[in-house]
């Protein structure tokens, strides 16, 4: 599920696997194990999470499982982040205008007080 893309990407080993696949379009599970210092069992677990979140595609070829990168979930995540950022842009622009008004008001009040003080 797309919801888990975040947690899938949060792990450095899983990001390492994805980076490896970005540079090598197709790798067997064995070729992936060989590149990491962690146990094959641990890599196997990471690959399972990457499959479940559809960040990788797997294809059975002869006796091998061949992995490749799938960037669709990452695109979805980017799209989501972009939407939230746009929302904040609008909100913070509005806040900026409120601050400008309030600053002018406070300066005017201060000037008023100073004039009265004289």
């Amino acid at each position: 599920m797309a919801n888990d893309t975040f947690s899938a990407l949060a792990d450095p080993t899983r990001r390492g696997i994805l980076e490896l696949l970005a540079g090598n379009p197709e790798l067997s599970a064995t070729q992936i194990y060989e590149r990491f210092d962690v146990s094959p069992q641990a890599i196997s677990q990471h690959l399972k999470i990457l499959r479940e979140t559809q960040l990788v595609r797997v294809e059975k070829r002869a006796q091998q499982r061949i992995y490749s990168l799938n960037i669709d979930p990452v695109k979805e995540l980017e799209h989501w982040a972009q939407a939230i950022r746009q929302q904040w842009d609008g909100r913070l622009n509005a806040m900026d205008r409120v601050l400008a008004e309030e600053m002018a008001k406070r300066k005017a009040n201060q000037a008023n007080h100073e004039n009265k003080g004289e």
Partner: protein, 163 residues
């Protein structure tokens, strides 16, 4: 792995040309919050803030007449307050009394997040203030598209009102 435990966080940073006391007030003084927190074309008839840790807030947003003029409420609790430095609070969709409502009951999409956590850092830099906003527990999906559509509409209206 507990799938429901996955927390999504987004960080937004912006520097404002105003001193930190003013920026802090914009987030904590109800009369100022009302002017900017809600969607750009919505009005805000009321905003109640009980600014203390464990205190709550209740914010009313009124849709423009062309959108039906309905009132929407959001509420939340202040988790941590360090004056002019840090503000942590939650946000839920609520009724007029501040009780949680289901997103679908107020016309929001099913995947609208139940609780959103906000952590705001205010960093004073002389005449300027850097704001670091962390927003978490949103879920991606159809909601993102709605947010884009809604925001583009808001920005168009805003641009028109400023022209």
């Amino acid at each position: 792995m507990n799938h429901h435990a996955s927390k999504q966080e987004l960080v937004i940073t912006r520097v404002f040309d105003y001193p930190v006391d003013l920026v802090w007030d914009a987030w904590t003084d109800p009369s100022l919050v009302m002017k900017w927190w809600g969607p750009a074309h919505f009005s805000s008839p009321s905003c109640k803030i009980d600014l203390r840790e464990g205190g709550s807030y209740l914010f009313c947003m009124r849709a423009p007449e062309s959108f039906g003029g309905q009132d929407y409420y959001s509420a939340g609790v202040y988790k941590r307050i360090v004056p002019q430095q840090r503000l942590e609070f939650t946000q839920i969709l609520s009724d007029a009394e501040g009780n949680a409502v289901k997103p679908s009951d107020v016309g929001m999409p099913e995947d609208f997040p139940a609780v959103v956590d906000f952590v705001i850092d205010f960093i004073s830099k002389g005449d300027q203030t850097e704001l670091i906003i962390r927003e978490s527990n949103w879920s991606p999906g159809p909601m993102a598209d709605n947010a884009v559509t809604g925001m583009n509409q808001s920005l168009d209206k805003l641009a028109a009102s400023l022209a």
